[in-house]
């Protein structure tokens, strides 16, 4: 189901700059019980990032209305929102008057063969390196060839996520998730000053950790620090929190800090579903 600029449409104009140049952004939102979860945070990020890309952000209230319109009566689904710089002529120069395209789409919630939230996942290190780009870092934009190429590295169902390093050999994120490690009860996550996506769930997890007086550090993290960590997990708005139980041949426990954050997150999520 699609809603293009408020209308039921099935197709896009070829001249949309999202298609021509990846000139736009997106959000991936979990829908449960008719509620687009943490919609405020998603739209806040979208609007902030639109401004960084000089795209006039669509009206927040309008986006809220359309998101709830699509989510209405839906038990469980993924709501994706794409915003682009709109239609334009050939050439990188942006049109004088920008009318952004907004596209909501509703997708089936992915079915995973196991309860990865509880039992954890197996991960690998990807060979593809994330390029460095301070201008675009943090933004969930449509230039995603790096993630596509990294995700193409494995076919096996035995691996659920790949961790990506950047050109400087620092761990940055999963192909579709943010990454956390716990060492000596300190929660650490890569600092995304040169590349990576600032996930909505990353922000929530950091905030929950601080509520629990868990020390949180955003810093450069090496592959070796990952391998000697006490606990590892990845997060995004659809998978929530997946502990990593195995990476390459190294095994990890689903430890106390991870479990504490998972249960706090589940409470927060239940509140979000039931109190709107």
């Amino acid at each position: 189901m699609y809603l293009l600029n408020g209308e039921n449409k099935q197709t896009l104009d070829f001249s949309d700059r999202g298609f021509q140049y990846g000139d736009g952004l997106f959000e991936t939102i979990s829908v449960e019980n008719g509620i687009p979860l943490f919609l405020d945070l998603h739209l806040q990020r979208l609007i902030t990032d639109c401004k960084k890309l000089l795209i006039p952000p669509p009206d927040n209230h309008l986006l809220q209305t359309e998101a709830f319109q699509l989510a209405k009566g839906v038990d469980c689904a993924v709501l994706k929102l794409i915003v682009t710089r709109g239609l334009g002529g050939r050439g990188y120069r942006q049109p004088e008057k920008i009318s952004p395209t907004r596209l909501f789409s509703l997708h089936p919630f992915p079915v995973y063969p196991e309860n990865y939230f509880q039992s954890g996942i197996s991960a690998c290190f990807c060979n593809v390196r994330l390029g460095l780009n301070p201008m675009l870092t943090g933004i969930k934009h449509l230039n995603r060839l790096e993630q596509v190429m990294a995700r193409a590295e494995w076919e096996t169902l035995d691996i659920q996520e790949g961790l990506m390093l950047d050109l400087n050999e620092n761990i940055i994120e999963g192909t579709m998730s943010n990454f956390f490690l716990i060492k000596d009860n300190i929660l650490m996550t890569p600092i995304l000053d040169l590349c990576g996506v600032e996930g909505v769930l990353k922000k929530i997890i950091i905030s929950l950790a601080r509520d629990h007086n868990i020390e949180v550090v955003e810093k450069k993290i090496s592959k070796n620090e990952v391998l000697i960590a006490d606990e590892l997990f990845v997060t995004n708005s659809i998978i929530d929190i997946w502990p990593i139980k195995k990476i390459e041949s190294k095994r990890f426990e689903i430890g106390g800090v991870t479990k504490k954050l998972q249960s706090s997150y589940l409470i927060l999520k239940q509140e979000a579903i039931h109190v709107v």
Copy 2:
């Protein structure tokens, strides 16, 4: 005028991965007198780059046929070809069976207020820095936010192109062109090992220079080397060769090497138009 997978269509499926993730490539081809110029070189690059991105390249002969079909009877136009990884579900993982999308579109040839080929252009240095990404370097892919942001830096009609530096402060290219400088009769152009697009015209110019026994060097080039050069020019398949006569406050002559390459290029182009 559009040709989507061989059919006259006006719109694109939302689920095309070109739109969802910038998961594709493009070519911009000059059409003169019914001929898509240097089509072989364009398709050669496209097919090579498809392979780098693990996109099964469309059939070369089919692309040739469709290009000539659109160009037929057209005096002067721009032919754009976009190839994407095709339709796909949500998520970075590529579909098991990839059916690439190919879209040809015909656009009016841009009208420039002056004959920049003869009289030269004014350029600026962009503030936006190109990120570093050895995996994607050279490829004319659809992840073009850097170029969009760089081109948004100036509105004035007094500037025709912006030169972009990378994160290491090396000159790489123009927002829409490759860049050359001449110093002591040596033709130099940035080495694109970390970022940049390997233009079809760049290849042609280097080959013409070698035919004239002009020494050609691909190397790292600093901003300072640009400012003390004897001659500067930028190239792409639509503008051909534009000498730079002014960058910031510094003025340049349209020198002998540039003029020699321009006249050789015009001869080559005439041959391409008349001998197919």
